[in-house]
Amino acid sequence: MKQSADIMGMPIRLEIVDSGVGEEPFAEVFAYFRDIEARFSPFREDSEVTLLNRGDSTRETCSPLLREILARCEQTKEETNGYFDIRRADGKIDPSGFVKGWAIKQAADLLLLKGWKHFTVEAGGDIQTHGLNAEGSPWRTGIRNPFNTKEVVKILLLSGEGIATSGTYERGQHIYDPHKPGEAITDIMSMSVVGSDVCEADRFATAAFAMGREGIRFIEGLPGCEGYMIDREGIGTETSGFAVYTLSHVRTA
């Protein structure tokens, strides 16, 4: 059974293929995301994040959950040499880049707690998978072609892993270095990271994309994460362990 809702400014999609599934888990998951939006959206007047940014609360007086989120963001900043940084230019903090992946994982854990075993939770292109699809195979997960969003350029088989893609989809304009006529300045279009869960994948995908071409090497150096980078020339580069997700493995739920 599949349902989606627009929350936090993006489509939230949930698919559960366990037998006997009804409305309840869908309602619970969407309610959870709405709660996260109310509590942590920097665009909500009365969210905990806005209160913190206004100075109406401090790291000491804010909720334990927000404190934990901020600590995880700080940890991520250290692990990514500062490429992941929730502090904006105006001095305000915006943990959205971390909250998205984290919330998906929390929602998935909620479903596991209720006994659901075979499902995917997606928010804006970041996905947590569990168990098997309706055909009894690991979830067939495509990576979108950044040059043509109707196509996928990789199909991965995931069962329990999370995947996040950070990127940009300009319409293939080539950028030329005026000092080297004919030579395009290469940079990257998208960075997809597969991690042990979507929270891991998401926090590193954002940082890796910001690093440009070096990002794939950063992911290569991370134990437990694999990556696939697509550059402006349409070349895909993968980390050395990535192929395990593109091969058919016999997986048990």
Partner: protein, 160 residues
């Protein structure tokens, strides 16, 4: 009719020649991680050339983009879920020579070199559209829309 001795010598010569051939043949080249590899096609799925914009030849690119006036143009600031996105586009000799972010939700932080450890050569390939069915797709979504809007408005300003 050949004598048995002659037959014997001939047989030995053939065998020796064969053994020599086997042991002097060069083996397969040392495996080198390829820089560009044609993507393997799987038995179930088929792959076709992915839609990738081909860089135009200089002359046609010049003709194509002659409509852009040289200079630097700021795109509109567009808000996305993560924050504001604003790009500036620089046109040189009628072509896009630079795109920079004036506003980007995640601060890129101080530029620090990623640790320069020795790394294996990573496998690269031209991306190819996969035609097999999928359950779900991972891709950048929201932020890209904001980039597109800001980028498009900068190019509008640059057009003659």
């Amino acid at each position: 009719m050949m004598s048995s001795v002659r037959k014997f010598i001939l047989s030995v010569a053939f065998i020796a020649a064969f053994v020599l051939y086997v042991f002097t043949r060069k083996g397969p080249p040392e495996s080198v991680t390829p820089i560009a590899v044609v993507p393997q096609t799987r038995t179930v799925s088929s792959a076709s050339a992915a839609s990738v914009p081909k860089p135009k030849s200089i002359s046609s690119a010049r003709a194509q983009t002659a409509r852009y006036r040289d200079g630097s143009y700021n795109g509109k600031k567009v808000s996305s879920y993560y924050g504001d996105v604003q790009v500036a586009v620089t046109i040189s000799v009628g072509r896009i020579s630079d795109v920079t972010f004036l506003a980007y939700p995640q601060d890129r932080g101080t530029s620090k070199a990623v640790s320069g450890r020795a790394m294996p050569i990573l496998r690269s390939e031209a991306i190819a559209a996969q035609n097999a069915p999928v359950d779900i797709v991972s891709g950048a979504t929201e932020l890209s829309g904001a980039f597109n809007k800001s980028f498009a408005s900068a190019l509008s300003a640059a057009r003659n």
